[in-house]
C-alpha cells in the first residue's frame, strides 16, 4: 500500500524559499502569482494492506519524524 505524505509550512511561517520562487516566476514573465509556498512530498511503500491502519502509521511517522510540527503541517494520502 502506498502512502503519500505532503509536508508544508504552517500559515504564518515565513517561507523564504517560496518567496524566492515567486520572485523568479515574476522575472520570467509569469504574471499574477500572488503567493508561493513550497514543501515536500514523501512517498512511502508500506507492507500494510489495511488503509486505515496504513494512514494511522503514516500519521504517527509524521508526528515523530517526517514533519516538524512546530512549523510544518502534514497531510497523508493513501493510494
Amino acid at each position: 500500500m502506498k502512502a503519500r505524505v505532503f509536508v508544508t509550512l504552517k500559515n504564518g511561517v515565513l517561507d523564504p524559499q517560496g518567496a524566492a520562487i515567486a520572485h523568479a516566476l515574476g522575472t520570467m514573465g509569469f504574471e499574477g502569482v500572488e503567493g508561493v509556498r513550497q514543501g515536500k512530498v514523501i512517498e512511502l511503500d508500506l507492507a500494510e494492506t489495511d488503509a486505515v491502519k496504513a494512514e494511522a502509521t503514516a500519521r504517527e511517522m509524521c508526528e515523530k519524524l517526517l514533519a516538524n510540527t512546530v512549523i510544518e503541517n502534514y497531510r497523508v494520502e493513501i493510494a
Binding site: L14, P16, L66, N68, V70, I71
Partner: protein, 230 residues
C-alpha cells in the same frame, strides 16, 4: 570536568570542539559515536558538534536527533546533565525536543560564514558565567539554517524565564546585524534549568589568538570554573 563530544556521520566541528574542551579542562575529551546507546560514566557535559549530520537530509538535525545516542543524551539532560549544542548541534537539540522552537533556512537563503557579534543576554548559566552581562563578544557563524523561529508563547516564555543566552548585535552592542533573520535576533537559548545551551555561532572556532581571537574559549573556561567542586 569530564566532557564528551558526539560524532555523527557528517559532523565536522567535533575535533575543534574536542580541542576547545581539552584546553580548558587539561584532560582528554571522550569522542562518542552516534550508534552507541550509552554515554561514558561520570560525564559532566556532552557536546553535540556542528557539521552536516546525515547530510542535512529531511531537515537539519532531524535524523541525528533519532539516533541511539540522542536517547541517552535526553536522559542525561533529564538527570541534570549539561549539554551544549553548537550550530548543527543546536539543530539536533531542537529536533530532539531538548530545546523549543525551530531553525529554518536563513532569511536571505544564503549560507553565511563570517564573524558576528553576540550580546551576552544572561550570565546566569554555566555557559555564559565567564562573560560580563550585556557584554559583546565576537565569534564566527557558518550555517544555512539558523533562522530561529518559535510560537509567540514560546518566545514570551524564553524572555520571561531569561533563557535567551545570546543575541546577534552590532560591534557596539546595539541590536542588528542579524545574519539569518532569527526572531528577536536570537543566537542561542537555554533550557529551563540553564544546563542545556543551543547556539548557532561557533565559540570553539575562536579559541586561540592565532585564529584571530579567544572570545570563544572563555565559554569553555567558564564551564570548567562553574563545575569545579566548591
Amino acid at each position: 570536568m569530564k566532557a564528551a563530544v558526539i560524532v555523527f556521520p557528517g559532523s565536522n566541528c567535533d575535533r575543534d570542539l574536542s580541542v576547545a574542551f581539552e584546553r580548558a579542562t587539561g584532560q582528554p575529551t571522550t569522542m562518542v559515536w552516534h550508534k552507541d546507546a550509552n554515554l561514558p560514566q561520570g560525564l559532566d557535559i556532552v557536546a553535540v558538534p556542528g557539521g552536516f549530520s546525515f547530510g542535512d537530509y529531511l531537515r537539519c538535525g532531524a535524523i541525528a536527533a533519532r539516533s541511539p545516542i540522542m536517547r541517552a543524551i535526553v536522559d542525561f539532560a533529564g538527570r541534570g546533565g549539561h549539554v551544549l549544542g553548537i550550530c548543527n548541534g543546536f539543530q539536533v537539540l531542537i529536533e530532539s525536543g531538548l530545546l523549543p522552537g525551530a531553525l529554518m533556512r536563513n532569511a536571505d537563503l544564503k549560507f553565511v560564514c563570517r564573524d558576528v557579534h553576540l550580546k551576552i543576554e544572561n550570565t546566569e548559566s554555566p555557559f555564559t558565567s565567564a562573560y560580563g552581562n550585556g557584554g559583546v563578544i565576537r565569534v564566527p557563524v557558518a550555517h544555512h539554517d539558523g533562522n530561529y523561529i518559535a510560537p509567540d508563547e514560546t518566545l514570551s516564555a524564553l524572555r520571561a524565564e531569561d533563557r535567551i543566552a545570546f543575541t546577534y548585535c552590532k560591534a557596539n552592542g546595539s541590536a542588528g546585524d542579524n545574519p539569518n533573520g532569527s526572531m528577536g535576533n536570537i543566537a542561542g537559548i537555554l533550557s529551563p534549568n540553564r544546563r542545556v545551551l543551543g547556539m548557532m555561532p561557533h565559540p570553539e572556532r575562536l579559541n586561540d589568538g592565532a585564529l584571530g581571537g579567544t572570545d570563544g574559549q572563555r565559554m569553555f573556561e567558564g564551564l570548567v570554573r562553574s563545575m569545579a567542586p566548591a
